[in-house]
Subunit: 275 residues, 2 copies
């Protein structure tokens, strides 16, 4: 875990121990890259031999990608398999094509499940779900990159990248949340467009492109020795100072923006101090 | 898409077209199982030859698993790599071990990213994220199974399965949400335990076990010709009748329980009709 995240990450310590305990698995399993500081050499594997087993190791050897090129490709892939696939395919597939067989055997079509917050459920934004999967596969230290990306998604006006082939003028909005449903509805409010409109469909393609591009920028920077901090948002940190794993309440775990769901009226009704 | 879900699934039609457009991909990609009715033979592949390419096809050939056995194994795997990995490993790994190479080369460690709602962010429950990934890989029609599982998770008192090795008496709670943060906090409220307690850590292991077991039951039933309907929850359907893609507002997309975040006071303040 990245040092600067310790105060707010609010990961339950037993979960961290769980990650640390994952060394030596069932399928030639190696520990996620976070474990690089715990004595595991990068790429160390419990399996045997080269060849097909090489792809069972995480992280895969990363090859820097062109961020804008991945953004354009993500827009196309989003149109083929939805937003999670749209982010995973150009990044993971892009590296796999550079590495060649057996890496090209990864069944990327499985990542179509994350579309629209998992088969339309509106939960975690599929672009973010896919980015986390890609980072987990390709980074030796994915956690700060994922946190940096998620905070960026919450606070920035997005899409911030218009891919080739886009037909409509870009309308950017601040999601204030990592959840698909909130992200979509806030864009509808900003644009005046319906959620079933072609403009909204294109926006999600451009959003997948923006997320894929940012993900590659983070990967490239980390690969070049300039890792992201993944710093927490102060407002969330303030809530977690009481409710998080180190607070007196100790009844909440997370990093999502609290105010996205917990409205001021709710907090006031619960006798909560003003924030 | 399963017929009975059409009315509420509220998937934006262009997203569905996106899925249908995914035939013929970049990595020997085949369409997700949902496309079986659109002219694709199951297992049809755009790649070439047998061997390693076989694993790039989705769905993989499913081999029924012992649901209780998977539940026990999920508890162990949760302790090794967190809740998403905890569900994926015994199911996907279990099938991979039956199928042999090259299937055993899938880098399952990547799924450790989903722990605690993605590296501790508290978004989508990692057990549910992992179950959706496993279903997408192993089912010819994952969508109704994922929806059935997610609705079950929202409404049931869980954990409903106590794995071998559990140390504490089970306290079950209704999450009312597919989100990690809400699920954790409601369990803390029901149990009186802290989110950082060993009881809470064990509860998440037992929850991963419960989700993995249910996932296998759904897969086995579908494999035997008894598919789940994935029927929507009436209260959510009522909200979506106005706000969903077919409603007059058309400003929301999703299947998550609305009341989990949208409190009655908020709805009243917005001049919303009583529900």
């Amino acid at each position: 875990m990245h040092g600067s995240e310790e105060g707010v990450m609010e990961r339950v310590e037993s979960d961290r121990r769980s990650l640390l305990g994952a060394v030596g698995g069932m399928l030639g399993l190696v520990a996620l890259g976070e474990l690089g500081s715990s004595g595991l050499a990068e790429g160390q594997v419990a399996g045997t031999g080269p060849g097909a087993d090489a792809m069972s190791r995480v992280p895969w050897p990363y090859r820097p990608l062109d961020a804008d090129g991945v953004g354009h490709a993500a827009f196309v892939a989003n149109g083929q398999g939805g937003c999670m696939f749209g982010v995973v395919e150009p990044i993971v597939g892009g590296v796999a094509r550079q590495l060649g067989a057996p890496y090209t055997s990864l069944p990327l079509a499985l990542f179509m499940y994350g579309s629209a917050g998992v088969v339309g459920w509106g939960s975690l934004c599929g672009a973010l779900n896919g980015a986390a999967a890609a980072l987990a596969l390709l980074s030796a230290r994915p956690q700060p990159l994922i946190s940096e990306l998620y905070s960026w998604y919450e606070r920035e006006a997005l899409p911030d990248f218009m891919p080739k082939g886009a037909r409509f003028p870009n309308v950017a909005s601040v999601a204030g949340s990592v959840l698909c449903h909130a992200s979509l509805t806030r864009w509808c409010n900003a644009s005046g467009k319906k959620v079933a409109s072609p403009e909204r469909a294109e926006r999600c393609g451009a959003l997948a492109a923006s997320v894929a591009r940012k993900t590659v920028q983070l990967l490239n920077a980390q690969s070049a020795g300039n890792p992201a901090a993944g710093a927490p948002e102060p407002a969330t940190a303030a809530c977690l100072s009481c409710h998080g794993t180190r607070g007196t309440e100790c009844d909440a775990s997370g990093r999502m923006r609290c105010a996205s769901c917990h409205a001021p009226a709710e907090l006031k009704a619960a006798g909560h101090p003003a924030t």
